[in-house]
């Protein structure tokens, strides 16, 4: 069965190693923070200028000067640092953030990603997404495998305006974990109860299916 949003987030959190600095996009990526295994720690970077983002504040802690990149009120952990936007993106652009997790409209077999603009619809902007995909050492895209009309979001070539090129190496959807390599998607894991056949059907871009495809543990 297709994973829930929380299950996708759970699977994302399994990618993290102890000591990773991680930037989580809005939506499913943010949920991943709830599922970091107990025996490891990661530190969250929020691109508005906070390294060591903590939980949401209590009423008593609420502070308008303390927000995250989603403009939500937030707290800082002990040992956090706060800095300006140029420094924040120096970290990101300079490859100091270990993982970036973000959503997408489309990803293609060359690791291109489209996530910010649908022609004909009002464009609000890319925010920090283009910097993040250009800068992070490892990027994980989380998304549903198909759109609401059932069309594959994994393509041979993105059709929407790009956010970045040749930058995506790992995708976690509600159906599968895939690697992007040498012009193809490589199926690494399937969601519990989801058949390889279903994934094949719902993946429009070139898909390589190894002999064994593990079932995700979520």
């Amino acid at each position: 069965m297709a994973l829930t949003r929380d299950q996708i987030a759970m699977r994302v959190a399994q990618e993290f190693k102890d000591g990773d600095y991680v930037n989580l996009g809005i939506g499913i990526p943010t949920l991943a923070a709830n599922y970091v295994p107990d025996d490891i720690s990661v530190m969250l970077q929020s691109e508005n200028g906070l390294l060591g983002m903590g939980r949401y504040p209590t009423e008593a802690e609420l502070d308008p000067d303390m927000i995250n990149a989603g403009k939500e009120t937030v707290t800082a952990i002990t040992g956090a640092s706060i800095f300006d936007s140029a420094e924040s993106f120096a970290m990101i652009r300079g490859g100091h953030v270990d993982f970036t997790v973000l959503g997408a409209f489309e990803v293609d077999v060359n690791g291109n990603i489209a996530s910010w603009m649908i022609p004909g619809k009002l464009v609000k902007g890319m925010g920090g997404a283009m910097d993040l995909v250009a800068g992070a050492k490892n990027i994980i895209v989380t998304m549903t495998h198909t759109d609401k009309h059932g069309n594959s979001k994994l393509l041979d070539a993105c059709t929407l305006p790009l956010t970045g090129v040749n930058c995506i190496t790992r995708i976690i959807t509600d159906l599968a974990v895939l690697e992007v390599s040498d012009g193809a998607f490589i199926l690494r894991e399937r969601a519990p109860g989801v058949s390889v056949e279903e994934i094949k059907q719902k993946t429009k871009g070139k898909l390589i299916v190894p002999e064994t495809v593990a079932e995700m543990v979520v």
């Binding site: 508005n48 308008p64 927000i67 300006d84 936007s85 652009r93 609000k124």
Partner: protein
């Protein structure tokens, strides 16, 4: 040190010289760390045809959003806009132009503008609509695009504490774009929650040295919260 006392006591003095058609660089991220009083006074001044460089454009009725009400803004340079209905309407009508710029590139363009660096290469935006028409150069087998710096006729900045010499510190994540904005204005105006005497901020804790600042004014701030999220359980 009278020549270094930058404190002014009224907003008209703080923004003296601001005219139609000028470019203003504004600090702030969303509604966090915005120079509220300076923005209000720009509305009162009724200057038009402004280009505003700011990560966002406020919301309906607050922050930079209020400058849309009388169509004072001709162009926004931002990474994320349209949190308000008026913005969308003016954009669709063609009354407002938007130059969307990746957030990190925007921050770096301001910093470069203040630092005398006319342009820099970045991988951000290569191969996307942002890279169109820009020079491409390959370093270590990776393509980068050339981005030019930004400076403004004015910069408007929100500080937590500023001393009379213009030395500033920012509070928590209200820092955001403010330090870069401060460096990039021909005239930089700081609106601070508190004005202190020189020496009250330790030299190595100053975020913005006074050399970048032309005028300092004490403001009062509403500090509206854009997305109020409170922990669900007791912690």
């Amino acid at each position: 040190m009278s020549g270094f006392d930058k404190v002014v006591t009224d907003y008209a003095s703080a923004l003296q010289g601001l005219e139609d058609g000028m470019t203003i660089i504004a600090g702030g991220f969303g509604l966090c760390g915005i120079p509220e009083g300076l923005i209000s006074h720009i509305k009162t001044m009724a200057v038009k045809e402004l280009t505003i460089v700011s990560n966002n454009c406020g919301v309906d009725g607050f922050g930079l959003g209020i400058l849309l009400e009388d169509k004072q803004i001709r162009k926004m340079v931002s990474s994320y806009v349209g949190e308000n209905a008026l913005f969308e309407r003016q954009l669709l009508n063609g009354e407002l132009e938007v130059e969307l710029t990746p957030q990190g590139t925007l921050a770096e363009k301001m910093r470069a503008g203040g630092a005398g660096i006319p342009a820099f290469y970045t991988a951000t935006g290569y191969g996307t609509p942002v890279g169109e028409g820009k020079e491409v150069k390959v370093f270590n087998d990776r393509p980068y695009i050339l981005e030019e710096s930004i400076t403004g006729d004015f910069a408007i900045v929100k500080a937590w504490k500023a001393d009379r010499f213009g030395n500033c510190v920012y509070r928590h994540t209200a820092q955001n774009f403010n330090p870069m904005a401060a460096t990039a204005g021909k005239i930089t105006v700081v609106e601070a929650e508190e004005i202190v005497e020189p020496g009250e901020i330790a030299p190595s804790e100053i975020h913005t040295p006074g050399i970048y600042v032309n005028r300092v004014i004490k403001g009062t701030f509403e500090k509206r919260i854009e997305r109020r999220v409170v922990a669900k359980e007791n912690v």
